[in-house]
Subunit: 220 residues, 2 copies
DNA sequence: TATAAAAGTTAGACTAACCTAACAAATAAA
DNA sequence: TTTATTTGTTAGGTTAGTCTAACTTTTATA
């Protein structure tokens, strides 16, 4: 049985391994920063996780999830994203509100609960942010997606996921009436600052920043 | 902000105050036994709760919830029973399975979640065990109910709630196809051992023990 | 009312998860 | 290849929640 805190360390490690695409390893300071604790604290926990065979790690070395560790981490991520979907779909939470509550709900221990919840939600593949929901067997659906900033002028796409999940960005998207699945056409890219003129569904054209285009994943 | 553990102490105190109908006070050992900790542990926590003005208590004295303490305890009970209802109604949990998971879910912090959940469930008044669900304002619906054992032969009633919520009893009820609302007619009471012959809905008569009749609340 | 039993408290210790301050190792820069 | 910087560890301490063992107060019983 894993403690609340141990679960958070494992999930952090998994998230970092997605982030550092090339090498799925993480460092102590990186972990600590991600979790909002001091490096000394992370070191202690890492020793404990190693003892439990959830990570491979040695003094001054990089940290990597073991198979068991990864399995556990994926299970937590699965719960997180299922709960987010529940809150969004069934309880009318907006997509910038779901994360905080899911951070708590992901630690509820009950195999039956997760599976029944998934069934209740009709086996969703993606959460409200467009992130894939791991299956019960640990598989993670993959969707080919690109950053909006990678498309050429003239091309069209559909919003697939948000890269930046900050409240500010999510609320901005909401204001623009952009959600997962929304159609976007790139009209023009301004060479000067990388900002672009886009058409959202059939609305009037508008301009968004390069930062914006770097924060949104789309499907061609 | 209350800790997980503090919340459990407050809820325990509220439950004990329902149990000891005459006097809503509790003793240290009683609390400890209820929570599955040692008396010494309870003493420590009681001091802390007193410090936070959640209970009135003094050395060797009885323990009583303050208004704030009671308000908090009711909020937790409300969450517990709403979650039980959710699990039972929406996720197909059986009524002996809901409690354990609700014990965890009741500690999720999110005012919006509770209220949205209540709305989603259509403002239920009673949980799967027939226990009243406190309203957002703290009011607790009351239903006039009697023990099955208090009825005279010949009378009819409807099952209102279970007094004993043990798995064994709940599963026995399930086997007898008795649930909240089920109609029961008392045919005969055996003077020898207090057992009684009853008719469940329109089924064949059957005999149940006095212990059984003392564990079931009904409505005349 | 004296004594035995029950109820409750205190002291001291442990573990998990955190911290700060001082140190050590690894890496990057000069 | 030294030196400086970054990265990570260790030592020692704190708090919440738990325990055991010894003690004290209250209550019940003879
Ligand atoms: Mn999230
Ligand atoms: Mn998400
Ligand atoms: Mn319950
Ligand atoms: Mn209940």
């Amino acid at each position: 049985m894993l403690s609340y805190t141990e679960e958070n360390y494992l999930k952090a490690l998994l998230k970092l391994s997605f982030q550092n695409e090339d090498k799925p390893e993480a460092g102590t300071n990186e972990m600590a920063a991600y979790l909002g604790v001091k490096p000394a604290t992370a070191t202690d926990m890492l020793k404990k996780l190693k003892e439990k065979d959830l990570v491979t790690y040695q003094k001054y070395g990089k940290i990597l999830l073991t198979d068991t560790g990864k399995k556990n981490a994926i299970a937590i991520l699965r719960k997180h994203r299922l709960w987010e979907t529940f809150l969004y779909e069934k309880l009318d939470f907006s997509w910038d509100e779901v994360h905080e509550v899911a951070e708590q709900l992901e630690h509820i221990q009950s195999a039956k609960l997760v599976d029944k919840l998934e069934e209740f939600l009709n086996f969703p593949e993606f959460d409200p942010h467009g992130d894939p929901i791991p299956k019960a067997n640990g598989e993670i659906p993959i969707l080919a997606k690109t950053l909006l900033s990678a498309l050429e002028p003239g091309s069209s796409c559909k919003v697939a996921a948000v890269k930046d999940t900050s409240t500010l960005f999510l609320q901005y998207l909401q204001k623009l009436q952009i959600t997962i699945g929304t159609k976007i056409k790139i009209l023009e890219v301004i060479a000067f600052d990388g900002s672009l003129s886009i058409q959202i569904e059939d609305e009037e054209p508008r301009t968004v920043s390069m930062k914006f285009a770097d924060s949104l994943f789309v499907q061609r």
